[in-house]
């Protein structure tokens, strides 16, 4: 039963990685932009939640609910005032700008909050667990996974059943023709990045409640997110969830064999999937 337990824990861990990745996947899918500051924005949001909890004494979930619209505005403004200016045929300028943003965010957070490890306290929830017969799972990992599934489900609904989602897909296909339909691609992009930051807030909430964080750990979260997106196939949100689960399971299996192998096993799984399916598990038909 130890292996069943390992796999279940791994899948649940994958929920966290999927939350890291969903915003990245959304933005990449719509505007072919890789935001190298994505991990640092997660840490930024975690500090924002921490600050709200610290100053108001609110429950972390309510604090995240307050942080979400602020993060939407941050994402919207980032896209409207910075990223839209550098998006174009050349993929290098957006990479450089988001890399610069990543460094600036790390330094800014270091100035503001120091290098000390922080944690968003969630009380009894942190250690609560449920007995599911053969395996016992923590309530926190279960909530994380459920939130990832819920977020991806809602994003897919938005994508495939609403006028905004239609505009997302059309703009992603062909921004010039979308503008002939009366759609302003720049404002579509700004809304998309705003939405990505709402998911980043959710990711930050669970990251901050489940482990310690400090201003320097953003880039590693970006790597996990990136791997999950690539494994799943660029732009496929359910693929991203599966990608997260694969990395999670690889990590828990690796850790089961030797605790030092946890991180490495995740990266190896990523490489193996890429060797077998270079375009990921669910590549988009059109690109």
């Amino acid at each position: 039963m130890i292996w069943l337990d390992t796999i279940v824990q791994g899948i649940l861990l994958g929920g966290l990685y999927a939350l890291f990745a969903a915003g990245l996947s959304l933005v990449f899918g719509i505007m072919r932009l890789v935001n190298l500051a994505h991990g640092d924005l997660i840490i930024f949001a975690a500090f924002a939640i921490l600050l709200i909890v610290g100053s108001t004494g609110l429950n972390p979930f309510l604090a995240a609910l307050l942080a979400a619209p602020v993060m939407f505005a941050v994402g919207w403004a980032l896209q409207a005032f910075v990223l839209n200016r550098v998006l174009g045929r050349d993929i290098l300028p957006p990479l450089l700008v988001t890399f610069g943003l990543s460094v600036a965010l790390q330094n800014g957070l270091l100035e503001a909050f120091s290098a000390d490890s922080q944690r968003i306290r969630a009380g009894a929830l942190e250690s609560a667990s449920i007995d599911l017969g053969p395996v016992t799972v923590g309530v926190m990992p279960l909530l994380t996974f459920a939130s990832a599934v819920g977020a991806i489900f809602l994003l897919n609904r938005l994508f495939y059943t609403t006028a905004l989602g239609r505009a997302f897909r059309a703009t992603s296909d062909d921004a010039v023709t979308a503008s002939l339909m009366g759609i302003n691609p720049r404002s579509v992009f700004a809304i998309a990045t705003g939405l990505a930051m709402v998911i980043v807030t959710l990711a930050a909430l669970y990251l901050g409640m489940r482990s310690n964080f400090d201003p320097s750990i953003g880039p590693a979260r970006l790597i996990y997110a990136f791997e999950a997106v690539i494994i799943g196939g660029l732009g496929s949100l359910w693929g991203t969830l599966l990608g997260g689960a694969i990395i999670g399971v690889a990590q828990t299996i690796g850790a089961q064999i030797n605790p030092e192998w946890q991180i490495l096993a995740g990266h190896i799984a990523f490489l193996v999937v890429l060797l077998i399916r270079p375009r990921g598990l669910f590549p988009r038909a059109v690109d």
Partner: protein
């Protein structure tokens, strides 16, 4: 009376390359104007300038007398100028019906064009409405592109080479929709390489060559020789 659309000395360039050298064009409300000219004459560039894909000095393009040359494509479209672009350009990620709906995302008033009206105009699209737009035949895709532009109830419809690459029977079917479109009072500009087709459907003709208008007049008054000279240049 002010023209619905007017260009005044319109110029356009791609980098260093000049593609339009002072084009003057007028379209009256409800009128059907055809633009003819050989490959590379600048017809598509003219459409791109009018729709705001290429930006201009504001007063080079007037819509109901108002300068719109510097507006972005989405702003021009919101004024009621819809485009059936060259090469159809359906959205591959959208179904036929979604392609139509996105054309109507910005609607002007409650005009006559609805999903139902487009399906009545092109019944085959109703059967294929759940298919990806790009899974259709060329002629059907062209119908989607026209329907998509109609869905906003435009006052001016611009069509760039709607017969390109299609079989004669299919072209006939597509042009058969033109009277129903004009019936709503919309003005139509068609870019068409088939001269006799252009002469038979349009009220007036503009012939372009190398970025300039070389001939313009009522379709009924056109002679073969005049068109030939304007199309190929006098040296021919």
């Amino acid at each position: 009376m002010a023209a619905l659309l007017e260009t005044r000395g319109l110029t356009a360039q791609y980098g260093q390359f000049k593609a339009l050298f002072g084009v003057d064009l007028q379209v009256a409300p409800g009128e059907c104007v055809a633009i003819i000219g050989a490959n590379g004459a600048g017809k598509t560039t003219l459409m791109r300038s009018i729709t705001g894909v290429l930006r201009n000095a504001p007063e080079m393009i007037l819509h109901n007398g108002i300068p719109i040359g510097a507006l972005s494509a989405d702003q021009v479209m919101q004024r009621g100028i819809a485009m059936v672009p060259e090469g159809r350009r359906l959205f591959p990620s959208l179904s036929v019906e979604e392609n139509l709906l996105i054309g109507g995302q910005v609607r002007r008033g409650d005009g006559r064009w609805t999903l139902e009206a487009v399906y009545t105009l092109f019944p085959v699209l109703r059967e294929r409405r759940r298919s990806p737009g790009t899974a259709l035949s060329g002629g059907q895709q062209q119908m989607v592109a026209i329907g998509r532009a109609l869905m906003s109830n435009p006052g001016l419809l611009l069509c760039d080479e709607i017969s390109l690459g299609l079989a004669p029977v299919v072209i006939r079917d597509i042009y058969a929709a033109l009277p129903a479109i004009r019936e709503t009072g919309a003005a139509v500009v068609i870019v068409e390489q088939d001269i006799s087709r252009a002469l038979s459907v349009a009220d007036r003709i503009y012939c372009m060559m190398e970025g300039r208008v070389t001939l313009t007049g009522r379709a009924a008054d056109m002679t073969r020789d005049a068109i030939h000279a304007a199309y190929f240049g006098n040296a021919a």
